[in-house]
Structure formats: structure tokens, C-alpha cells
Symmetry: C2
Subunit: 345 residues, 2 copies
Amino acid sequence: MVESLSERSENILHAVISEYIFTGEAVGSRTISKKYSIDLSPASIRNVMADLEELGLLNQPHTSAGRIPTDDGLRYYVDRILQTRKLTKEEKETIKSRYKPSNFEIIDIMEETSRLLSMFSRYAGVILAPKFENMIFERIELVKLRENQILAVFVSKTGMIQNRIIITEEDLSQDDLYQFSRYLNEILGNLTLEEAKKKIIDEMNKEKNMYDWLLSRALMLSQKAFNTDIEDGLFVDGKYNILECREFCDVEKMKSIFRAFEEKGILVRLLDQAMESDGIQIFIGTENEFQEMHDCSVVASPYTWRDSTIGTLGVIGPIRMNYCDIVPIVDYTAKTVSRIMDARY
Amino acid sequence: MVESLSERSENILHAVISEYIFTGEAVGSRTISKKYSIDLSPASIRNVMADLEELGLLNQPHTSAGRIPTDDGLRYYVDRILQTRKLTKEEKETIKSRYKPSNFEIIDIMEETSRLLSMFSRYAGVILAPKFENMIFERIELVKLRENQILAVFVSKTGMIQNRIIITEEDLSQDDLYQFSRYLNEILGNLTLEEAKKKIIDEMNKEKNMYDWLLSRALMLSQKAFNTDIEDGLFVDGKYNILECREFCDVEKMKSIFRAFEEKGILVRLLDQAMESDGIQIFIGTENEFQEMHDCSVVASPYTWRDSTIGTLGVIGPIRMNYCDIVPIVDYTAKTVSRIMDARY
DNA sequence: TATTAGCACTCGTTCCAAAAGAGTGCTAAC
DNA sequence: GTTAGCACTCTTTTGGAACGAGTGCTAATA
């Protein structure tokens, strides 16, 4: 961590970064002295820039070029200089109005959110749906499909629905299944999926249950049903926007981004990390651990349901993205999604 | 449609195309005369090539370059020259073995298929899941989630499952819902979704039903449930493979492909077209109507369930793909998927 | 002592012309 | 009908010159 800079250095760093974010090109001392209200000659600015370079906040692609902020430079900027813009009332209204009351299913909310984030940011919008394991069990429904084949439908309190087909050895009647589900709903209600799994094992070990045909069958079945890898629900929109950025006109970089998006696990893990924090989190360039994403920045924020974090959303764009605009968009969207989750479920 | 060529012309066209598919570069008369067993001097070959150019089967990027096959040239090749390779026993085994008996859900089959197609072809593998509208209704299940909120689960004969949350004005008990679903399952069984929709309207218009509370509620509810835009289930794998092809090292082309993949509607409509035919269908370059895909070829084949087409699968690659290898892979995969659909559902 | 003007220097970019290379079309001979 | 030979075309590569942007250093200045 770099210690605090003098006001003058900070102003110049600010100017370089602003100009770089605006033009995407290395910025020279002359430009700064002309365009920004810094009352110094190019020569003095050069001295300061040389200092900033020594500190690792700027760097020079080659001797006869201007300076470009390093990831550390941007980090300093984001942490200590950046003043985010406030959204206007209209903007807030527009965001809120995207969520139609008729969209009751969580998938609709996810899709709308990713679209919204991408539209407002002009980059890629992503949202990670609530993790199934953390969800609170609301009910299980068992439907006999055909012989030895049962459909289990889980519903979580937050409205996520998951289907799973189970193959059984013995043929069970629909009436058996009704009884099973009534029993399961009773013992599993209000547990998280994680807890529910444990509970099932506990119950199976209780002696009295082992000898009750109904209970033991029901537990066995539910264990099969719960024993599933639910894929992570990642919603991405506006990937294409990213390619429009000048910095990705290089074929190799484009491939790299493309790969990161295809390999969804990368984005999922990245967003998972943002889950820890309890506010906006920014990953600048190489600050994230994924090679493929080293030319991107990610602005992410968790969203909540009843005050506990259940997922993350964010914007992915080039390193030189306009943080000043993007941060409040992500922030407000996360708050809106949280409010909607609370209101609907 | 070009009329038949002389054997000599055909041989030379074949040689040019083979060489072009192999190298990806314009091929000259000398190369042909040396590498391929055509007993003619470069000069004679040049004459024939000039003829083929006049017919629109070859073209010359510039005067001092070799020839490249046009889309029409490749079409001629595919229709009249191409001899597809037979898959070996081992290859067939490998394909079949990818489908684990434990994967009962259609989504698993779709994912496995797209992955398989992309792995074997080294390009992008795609599969369009059975259209929900064409599916044969097996049953509907109605579950009360909370007040005024009902979960409807459809199951089709081919194992597709769809959930939908319905908001109702009046509060219905779970017992009402059991009765509704029993009634609906009775009247809608074995109809396609399309037919089921009609049937519901018919029933609603019957006078006797109008005055029966249970029936009229059940019908109203089911209409809401069916009135849904099910998004098309498109599964794509191996997009990245395509970018590795030399022809897409151009940034603009890469963007164009990227866009085509993001805008899923394009692929869906393209595959829909292949639904009509009853065997392998090949779209070469500009033969498909989508600007973004004009630098790609698509090899597609429908797959069936009980002898009627229910979906399409295929491979998307560069125009100069190795049709000889890709065609049998797509063909055999389609047959395998059809067999599995028949066996499982 | 901090700031600035001036200047030499570096390095990337653009431009141009020449040379090399690949392949053709045409013609005349076989 | 086929082919060898040759002139021609067009792209690609190469190298060098001119240009320009921006720097670092130094000496002069306030």
C-alpha cells in the first residue's frame, strides 16, 4: 500500500487517470498542463510524473510515450480520490421500473438485472443467483412420473425452484409420495438446504425411524433428491459491449475474454469472492486471480434477503472503465434487487 | 445450380478444395500438379481453373494469387464429390458411452450432446432442445406455494419439465388444486401442448363447464399456466474452438461471431430451418440468411422421438471445415440422441 | 529553493521505394 | 490437346528516411 501523496501529486495522478479513462491513451505532461486546471508547466508535471512512476502508480510504455496508470495507480485513485456520481431521481426511477410486478420468478429478476446492468453501464452485466445450498427450504413436492421414476420439486423461500428426477428401486404410489412429502415438509421447513441435508442423515440414524417403512422410505428418497450438484446460476448480458472497447481490438485479448466468458466457473468464483464484503467491491485488472480476466475490471456488490447476503451482481468492463459512473449504478441496482427480494418472498 | 462438370474439372475442383481446407490459403496451379495425382502440367491446370472461375466455383482474391473455392464451389463439392468418412467402431462406442444411464433429465442429455459435438469436431457443438409446443403433455402438477401463488409443473412425455408460478385472485386450497390437476391430466393427456391449449378453450366454452366451479377454475388456471413463452433451449459448447481458426484472427470477424453467439435467436432460427429436412443439412457461408454467420458453415441434423422430429443438433465451424469428418459425426450423434430419446421416454 | 524554458535524445509511427516471391495469362512449339 | 517459356501483375517484405510526441536533464529564473 502506497502512503498518502502530497496534494499536488494527487491532483496530477487524478488528472492522468481521468484523461486516460477518457482517451484510452498514454497521457503526456503537456496535455495535463493544458486541459486540467493545474497551474504548473509541463516540465514540473514531468517531475511529479517521474515520482509517481517511481512509486509504481504510473508507467511508461516506452521512453517517448506519455504515462498510463498502473493497476496500483487505479487502486489508489479508487480508494482515495474517486468521488462517485449520485444517480438522479430519473435514473433511479428507470432502474426500479424495470422490475415488473408480474415477474414473480427469480429467473426473470436475474435476467432483467443482468440486462439492466449491461444497458446502463454499456459493459457486461452479471448476476449470480442465490446459492441453492444457502437457500431456505420451503417445501418439497413429489410426483410420480411413471414406474420407478419420481419427480422431486423443491421450492425455496426466495422462490427458487429446482426439479430433479429420481429413479427408485421399488415402485411407490402417488399416495405414498403425498405422505412422504407431507412428512418431509414438516421436518425440513425453515432449514437451509445445508441443514436439511444434515437433518435427513440425523433422522435416518434414529432407531424409531429405521423400522417405520414410510419414514425410512421418505428419508431415503429425500436424500437422493438432495444429493445433487445444482449448477450455479450465472446470468450474463452484454458481453458484446466489452469487445467494442478499444483495448480489446487485439485478437489475443479478445480470445482471452471470450474464454473467460465461456468458462463460466471463472466468473462464478470471481463473484463469489465479492460475496464476502458487504458493499461495493472493485477488482482492478490483475487484482483478480484469473489470467483471462487480467485486462478487465469488475465492480461487484452483494445483494441481500432479510439482511443476509444471498448473491452478487456487478459489471465487467475494461480496466479504464468510468468507475465514477459504474459504481453508483452497481450499488443502486444491488439495493434495488435486495429490496425486491425482500418484498416478494 | 451448376450443371455437371467433366471428370477432369471435377478432379481439379476437388484438389483445390481439399488443399484449401487443409491449408486455408489460396492454392496455385503448381501446388495442385505436384501434390495431387493429376497428370497435367500447371499450365493445363490453370486453364481448367480459369473455366471453374468463370462458372463461379472458384475465385481469385487478386491476379497474382491462387484460387479459393466460392460458396457455390463448396456446395458443388458437398453435393457431388464429397465422400464422407465412416466412423470406426471405437468412435461410435465413445460417442454412445458419453450418455450415462443415470442422466435421466433431458437437460443432461442436451449438455452432454453439445459438449460431445464440440469435442469431436473441434468446433462449436449446438443442440436445440425439443420445442415445448410440440411436446406431448404427460401431466400437470399444481402446488400451492403461499396465498394466491401457485406453482404449476408440466411434464412432457419426453421428460421435459417446466415450472411456472401463477398468481391467482382467489385463494385456492391445496385440495382444490389436487382436484384441478386430476381433472386436467385426464382431459389433456397425450395431447401436444398446442392441442392442449385449444382443448382448454374448447372446454371453457362448453356450457356445462361454465357453471361448475371446479371445472371453470381449473380451466382458467391452466390457461394462465399454458400462456407462457417458453424460451428455446439452445445448448452451445466450444465456442472458443471457433476463434482458434485462422480465418477468424481478424477482429471484425471475431466480433461478428461473438455477436451471433450472444444473440441466441440467430442460432435458434438457423437450427429451426434444419428441422424441415430429414437428414444432414449443410449451410455453407452465405447460404444462411444471417449476416453475422456468413463466415461460418453449419452442419446440422434433426433428431427424432418415435419417428417424428423434435429437435436439431449440429456443428458450427469455419467455411473451410473438414466436411468429410464432421458430417458423419453429426449424423451419428443425431441417430444416437434419437435412440436415447426413444429408449428413455 | 522551487519552477520553468530550452534542447538533445529516444522511440514509435508513417511513408516510400525497391526487391522478392508467388502465381497468372498468353503464345508458340510440341 | 498439352506444355514450356516468359512477361506481367499484385502482394508482401524490407530498409531507410522523415516525422512527431514526449521525455530527461541542465541551466536560467523568480
